[in-house]
């Protein structure tokens, strides 16, 4: 047998083994497809890991630059569908999946870490056929912070506002005269109560449908105190249906206090304030029933309202009641404006108690608010000027300065 024949025989003898070796990649699907995908798409670049800022611990933030093929994707089989985030306590692995970020995302917060444990992360650009992994990075440990640096701007603005409010309260205490603009809706309170007294009909007061943990309800109950004092003096009847039990108790105490202050504790009755239901539309049905039956001469709506605002205000309108509303729910304001005689818009609701009390200390807090408005106006004007200048001149600095002003008011 010559050399060529021997080689030929050897090849024939080895052919099953060669065939198996040649076909092996077809059976080793995961490894092969990952390699195929790795060859077809690039892995994410510049993977960074850090402890999540301003949190209570237990979280690590992973950021990366998009894979160069993130924006491609006509071929669905090899298009990137997202980024899988893998984690391990050792650089060598094994890595476990801890989350998935959609295509185009460059950030993932892993909120399942234990403080003080070092973790390694790997980000994989995933396709339908597998993934292209970036090199593992780490170790990084999560920890709790004592100050949320993301809220520094809120702290500074909050201190500035609180400082100015406290300053004006102190000024008012010292006897400084403060000018407060006229609020038509509040000027009309006396007139509305007087009308009910003349007509011999009751007054209906709705303190919203939220509980006492909502500052709008606190404002509504506070205004109720001032309304009740006038009612006690005029000897008019008031009815306060509430949708929360705690509001009922608070409103009772408030009205009782007003009757005592007016020197008419005997005229007070607990029945003036009663609980109806926590359910929004059940409450509306009951209030509408009271309106239609008792025909109150005046209706007050002061607090937090939702879809029920218009149903109540329109029913009140249909019985010819004079209506004064106040809410800080922007979506309900148009309804109240359309259906009521007077509407306290947003901040006027919170200013009402100070305005009605005419106490210098309370009025001082309203002047403090003006400082906040001045800051807001200054920021808006400077932001508009800077961004307009950027549009006109295309100087990058104006854009950066404009964005800085915008970020100053971002809540984190």
């Amino acid at each position: 047998m010559n050399r060529a024949d021997r080689l030929s025989s050897l090849l024939v003898a080895l052919s099953p083994a060669i065939l198996i070796l040649a076909l092996f990649p077809a059976f080793a699907i995961p490894q092969t497809t990952a390699d195929t995908a790795a060859a077809l798409v690039g892995p994410p670049q510049n993977v960074r890991v850090s402890d999540t800022k301003g949190d209570e611990g237990g979280s690590i933030t992973v950021t990366w630059d998009l894979s160069p093929d993130d924006h491609g994707g006509a071929d669905t089989a090899t298009a990137i569908i997202g980024y899988e985030i893998l984690r391990s306590e050792s650089a060598a692995g094994p890595f476990q999946s801890v989350g998935f970020a959609p295509k185009g995302a460059t950030r993932f917060a892993d909120a399942s870490t234990h403080d003080g444990v070092g973790y390694y992360y790997q980000v994989v650009a995933s396709t339908a056929q597998g993934g292209a992994a970036a090199a593992p990075v780490g170790p990084v440990m999560s920890s709790a912070q004592w100050f949320n640096t993301n809220r520094t701007n809120v702290l500074v603005i909050g201190l500035l506002l609180s400082g100015s409010i406290i300053y004006y309260i102190a000024s008012a205490r010292r006897g400084k005269k403060l000018f407060i603009r006229r609020i038509a809706g509040l000027e009309a309170v006396q007139e509305a109560i007087g009308r009910a007294t003349e007509m011999g009909r009751p007054i209906l007061y709705i303190p919203g449908i939220q509980d006492m943990d909502d500052v709008q309800t606190v404002a509504g109950v506070t205004i109720l105190g001032y309304v009740a004092r006038t009612i006690a003096e005029y000897d008019t009847k008031i009815e306060v249906p509430t949708s929360r039990s705690i509001v009922m108790s608070t409103a009772r105490e408030t009205i009782k206090s007003a009757y005592i202050a007016a020197g008419r504790p005997d005229a007070y009755s607990d029945d003036a304030v009663h609980y109806v239901t926590d359910e929004q539309f059940g409450y509306v049905a009951a209030v509408d029933g009271i309106m239609v039956r008792d025909k109150p001469a005046t209706c007050f709506y002061m607090g937090a309202f939702f879809a029920e605002s218009l149903i109540m205000a329109e029913t009140g309108n249909s019985i010819g009641a004079i209506q004064i509303a106040g809410t800080a729910m922007p979506a309900q304001l148009p309804f109240f404006v359309a259906a009521c005689d007077y509407t306290l818009i947003g901040e006027e609701l919170f200013a009402a108690s100070a305005y009605l009390s005419n106490e210098p200390k309370q009025l001082g807090s309203l002047k403090g608010q003006d400082v906040g408005k001045s800051i807001a106006m200054l920021a808006i004007a400077s932001g508009v000027i800077l961004l307009t200048l950027h549009q006109v001149t295309r100087v990058e600095w104006f854009l950066r300065a404009g964005n800085w002003v915008k970020d100053l008011f971002l809540l984190n």
Partner: protein, 262 residues
Amino acid sequence: MRRQVPLIITLIVGAVLIIAAFIPHHPFGRLGENFSLYFDIIAVFAFLLGGGNLVRIHGARFLRGVRTSVQEAKKGGGFWPLKFLVEFPFFAFGGLEDKRGRDWFFSLITLAGFFAMLYAGLFKIGNPDGWQGNVTQPGGLFQEFYQSMFNPLQATMYALLAFFVASASYRAFRAKTLEATILLATAFIILLGRTPAGTYATDWLPSWLDFFHIPNLANWIMAVPNLAGQRAIMIGISLGVIAMSLRVILGVERTYLGADEK
């Protein structure tokens, strides 16, 4: 003293919660959530107070109504129980001159509804898993009441909104003043811009007049003047909330605390 203690509690809790907003570290990090839970616990007990008040008010109204109805039936002489039954609908639905006893039938329905729901929910009547199951489990009587009675009633009340929107809009859009006229014109553009009619009406406009294409104009009104106005209101509200909260925390505003001991 009755007012001093709540004021001190308000000051401490308010100050701690403000500080907690800036300190994520334990134990401050979850203080806000914990205080919300404490509030919920208090609210559960207060709910009993509310339920009790509801039963007392409507119970008294119902009894007063029945008493007055019986008295009315006895007035003319004869067999009064029969008279009571015949005149029952008139008495029940506002036929009485005594306003305090009027519409007592609705109080009866309220009480019946309250106790039926309480009974079905408390004893988990008809619940497929008995006492172990969730009270809102499908198949239970409580869920049955909720789905077949409460939900349709609620939907009916909500549906009234459509009619009220129409009547309120009619009044608001009457062009009596300059502001109302602007409102009317703006509303007209927005409504038209949200329908195919708006698209067809100004489809012929050349591209350089694209801004005046009604859907574009409607989008601009929503995105620019409307949004600017809403943001102005929101800024005012935020400042008002801060000022109000400070007044409450510092004890400047204390009307909500009620009467002091005399």
